[in-house]
Symmetry: C2
Subunit: 655 residues, 2 copies
């Protein structure tokens, strides 16, 4: 029962109102609140605050898609219904899982409901939510409120410096600081009471006074965690006292304007100091926008943020801190700094409290960055006995295999195909993107769903995975990924000597042109999936493990949430293991950053993870080339490795 | 033999040249160099490099004014001549004092000559030189050059982060750092050798790597000390390896535009945030100009400055650091911060190495600032048995009495009269200022000297002291400072009902108007001198001491150097003690800042001084009012306190 989703506290958000016939509900990690009447269903509250939940069966309990986690106040609800007992596993039930359409408030009080990423519908394209274990907040920054009694205060001020009075009062409060920030010194003269009264000090690491504020401001203490992805930035505004996420924000990484993948950005950075400056400013400005957005929606002033944590892969990390990533891409791939460190956030130009620190999570190696460390922290796979597998799907996929016995990791350059790049009609997962595709094997008729249910404008990552997998399942593709020109269908045609498959006809689309999957698109997807599978396969082989040894598979990342489990197995992205061992954990890089923000102990854990992690340089591994060539097949040259897919194809008469 | 002036090293500046018939001479603290032939006099070298030395007797050895200190290589000179043995005391001789016109190079080699402030003529208006004890350099910043062997370097770089390689190499070199500055991290990728070679690290306090530089740059390590006076800024560029001052620079404090004295500046600062910003920028920009000037003249790049120290009185200190000085002037006169601290210099916007630290010397109390601590460090009065008296004359005069048994200090608001402000024809000591005045008691004829020997434009501090003392000596002023209208002379006249004395007739002056000392001017001077004397007198009384108990009197400050000892005794600025106990020590605030820059031990000493110093709140002392009223007289209401002046007046028939 160690893993549960998101943090909450006992205090009701609703304050002093009449609670007799109501239940106050807080939704995490969205940080939204509402109040529902006793007798109402939780799903009503979810709809009221505007969170998009999967509920295709119309709240009848039969589809089992509206799973939520009661992290607090579960006792105020009805007992699980029969529908729930069918849809929710025993272990999930122990972790607090319920179906939102089946649980009803039976007594007044307050509850906290976490909504896991897999229960959400794709409206929120930028996945920021992620699994995280429950933590007791032990942030690096604490606020201590001091009270100077009127009696001898004036006399004392004539003899002692304000900083001395503050330091001794803090010492009496059990905190021995050894320095004041420049900002704290500057705040002192006006913050000190004229003749006795309160003053509040934000203390970092028990040793540096960051700020001095007049009166008692100890209830307001916030932190910000940021996940710097190659493709997206995600931010979390956290109440450091309660541990709650107050608001989240996300943005495409503005560096995309200077290169879609890491290698092209590294090349751009290395060309000139101006380019380097542009990339650096782009990400810093992006993070500042995240801070601004989250603060606005939560009613927090950015100057109330006293600590920041950041994760990212090695290249994103280096560029964010203004460290050249040039050599990271050149043999022997040296990394400038791997261990964690603290800086003043103002040194990078972050718009938070000017005395706030910024903590960088440690990196594992050149292509296994702080994001992988964060993934490991959030899934806690280092606690489990027996091997787990973690795949964080992104432009670079991070792969971690291990458990209590040790961690082995590698990184695989999947490329941006799953993000819709390098694909003829590919696009990001914004309005009008085809995000899901079904192909009828009988007549090759195509069904699809677009983001925002508008006319299609292109096709995004999850749609591409669906399309290629469904094309294979329907016999449009052969096992080596070739489009079978022998199949008779108007949807299969040859343009400029190259075959393609029409997903949507021009008459249905926004732009009036056909949206197709070309032979080249298929090739891009196969290269991407082969890269991921090869990383997993080589790592498992190096550890002497078989796919079936994996007790749990965590699929993390923004893309991990929306891709279809069956279709991605058909493609052969991940090894064929029972579906019930697979968990989509969402953006765990962000979760790890949030955990590090909230807990000093987690910072220590992060260092231990890095010390214990073994790194496999994938490209240099002798197994790599053969494994990669075999993995380009659908689902793999050796179909016996994918018994589930084999069975499916057999059922369709395709084997 | 503990006190000697300025620091030097054994290495010759001249390099590898032919030294057979020459002596290389370095002048400190000017940082100038020359070479003189064997048989030549030191004074010839001084003239060659353009340092203005007092030598009114024409190098005959009779005036004894051209004293210099041989801090190194004294053995290469002739034995002291008879003239020198008459002019130089035994204790001075032991400290290396010689007369520049009497000592001759007798053997080739290299020597270092320090030129004390009192031997210089007034051409250099801004006094930056000051006495300082000799120190072994133990700066906070050290440069450590590391060498990576080609053999296994590439392999190591593939496994370890550059920062780890650096940290372990430093550990092997005996230095265990625990952090790298952001700048050091940024420098790492390009500074690390490709395949073995050297890299140099500047380490602060043995724990933080400030910078990483390609190759071996360990010979270039510089620091900058700055003295922030109310009226002037003085800067010292110091070679942290040798301890030598490479260049000095000075400027009027640009804050003068916003108020001449502390109280008016504090008022201006407190009016608005814009005003506060203006005062802060003014001083920071001024310090940046000092750095720029000194670096230019010494051929040092400002980015090679890795440490900065700053001293100033409490208000100047607070404003420089952007801390409001508002309350310093309001009862109970609280000080925000008194203890020393280190900041990153870039936090204040100083243009030095972006990772450099800035050390603030500690303060004693609201009106006894870091400048007083620096004075004490430079004079080392805490080492002497028996009481010494230190007067640092400035807009505020700091007064310290004590020795090994303890230190007692106070501050006295002398006001800006000695700086030429609040005086009808007063001006700063720039070109055309009357800086010395003689009045013939017989016919009241006036002789004067101006800065740069041009037509007079006004009268500066030292000229005002001379003028008032000489007016008193000549009977123009009575003992209470009134101009005696009964004295018959065209120079004494009444304008608008107020008497005045003409120092220079319009025909002689630049502007064509008479330059006069008015009755109000006299009053200003008497208030200023009374303030200083009262501070000294009250402190002595509180300690149960008489003037004759003072074993040494140190007169420090920019004004202390040029004022005439006899004339200032006639005014009654300082107590009547034998002239041979008086030493002009120049700008010891600057010396203390330089010492702190050069030595970690001195930083510890500074804290001890502050802990040991007792502070007298002068204005609150019951003795103050009577003493002040008595001190407004010339030289004092009780003439018996000034036996030397009494004798002089008696000789003139004035008593």
């Amino acid at each position: 029962l160690s893993v549960c989703i998101f943090i909450s506290t006992r205090k009701s958000w609703a304050g002093e109102g009449d609670l007799k016939n109501y239940v106050d509900v807080e939704f995490q990690p969205d940080g939204k609140h509402t109040r529902i009447g006793v007798g109402s269903k939780i799903i009503e509250g979810i709809r009221e605050v505007g969170i998009d939940l999967q509920a295709p069966c119309g709240d009848r309990g039969v589809c089992g898609r509206c799973k939520v986690v009661l992290t607090e106040g579960g006792g105020l609800l009805n007992q699980p219904t029969g529908y729930e007992l069918r849809a929710v596993t025993l272990s999930e039930l122990r972790d607090g899982y319920r179906l939102a359409c089946q649980c009803t408030a039976s007594r007044p009080g307050s509850i906290v409901v976490a909504i896991p990423p897999e229960s959400r519908i794709g409206h929120q394209r930028m996945v920021v939510q992620g699994l995280a274990p429950k933590l007791r907040p032990t942030p690096m920054v604490k606020k201590i409120s001091l009270n100077f009694r009127e009696g001898d205060f004036k006399r004392l001020r004539a003899v002692k410096a304000d900083s001395e009075l503050l330091t001794s009062a803090l010492r009496r409060a059990g905190c021995s600081i050894n320095s004041l920030s420049l900002e704290a010194m500057r705040a002192l003269p006006d913050a000190m009471p004229r003749s006795g009264g309160s003053v509040t000090v934000a203390v970092w690491g028990g040793r540096e006074a960051l700020s001095v504020e007049a009166g008692d401001t100890s209830s307001r203490l916030f932190g910000f965690a940021v996940d710097i992805g190659t493709t997206k930035l995600a931010g979390y505004l956290v109440d450091l006292k309660s541990g709650r996420v107050l608001a989240t924000s996300s943005l495409p990484n503005p560096q995309i304007a200077y290169g879609g993948d890491l290698i092209s950005r590294i090349a751009y950075y290395s060309q000139s100091a101006e380019n380097a400056g542009r990339l650096k400013s782009a990400v810093v400005n992006g993070v500042n926008r995240l801070i601004e957005d989250a603060c606005r929606s939560a009613g927090v002033d950015a100057s109330e943020i006293y600590d920041v944590t950041a994760v990212g892969n090695t290249a994103m990390h280096h560029i964010f801190f203004g460290i050249s990533p040039k050599y990271v891409a050149l043999s022997p791939f040296p990394v400038a700094v791997k261990s964690s460190f603290n800086l003043k956030a103002k040194e990078l130009g972050l718009n938070v409290n000017p005395a706030a620190y910024l903590h960088s999570l440690p990196l594992i190696a050149g292509f296994v960055g702080a994001d992988a460390v964060a993934d490991i922290l959030a899934t806690e796979i280092y606690r489990f006995k027996g091997p787990s597998l973690l795949i964080d799907i992104g432009t670079n996929a991070e792969i971690v295999v291990g458990g209590r016995e040790g961690l082995t990791c590698c990184s695989s350059p999947a490329g941006p195909a799953f993000e819709g790049a390098h694909i003829k009609h590919g696009m990001r997962a914004s309005s009008g993107a085809i995000e899901a595709v079904w192909i009828d094997p009988d007549d090759l008729s195509v069904g699809y769903k677009t983001v925002d249910d508008v006319k299609p404008r292109g096709i995004c990552g999850s749609g591409i995975i669906d399309a290629v997998a469904q094309m294979f399942k329907a016999g449009v593709l052969n096992r080596s990924g070739g489009i079978d020109r022998g199949v008779k269908s108007p949807r299969i045609r040859v343009v400029d000597g190259k075959p393609e498959f029409v997903v949507a006809w021009g008459g249905e689309t926004e732009g009036g042109v056909d949206i197709t999957i070309t032979q080249d698109d298929v090739q891009e997807v196969l290269l991407a999936k082969a890269a991921i599978y090869t990383g997993v396969s080589v790592t498992l082989k190096r550890l002497g493990l078989k796919p079936r040894d994996i007790r749990r598979l965590y699929i993390a990342g923004a893309f991990g949430t929306y891709i279809d489990l069956t279709n991605s197995l058909i493609l052969g992205i991940y090894p064929d293991i029972p579906f019930d061992r697979v968990r989509f954990v969402g953006n765990t890089a962000g979760s790890g950053a949030r955990m590090t923000l909230l807990s000093k102990q987690v910072r220590v854990k992060a260092e231990r993870i890095v010390d214990r992690a073994r790194y496999i340089e994938l490209a240099a591994d002798p197994l790599f080339e053969k494994e990669f060539t075999d993995s380009i097949w659908l689902p793999h040259r050796d179909i016996e490795l994918f018994p589930t897919v084999r069975k499916l194809l057999k059922g369709l008469g395709r084997l």
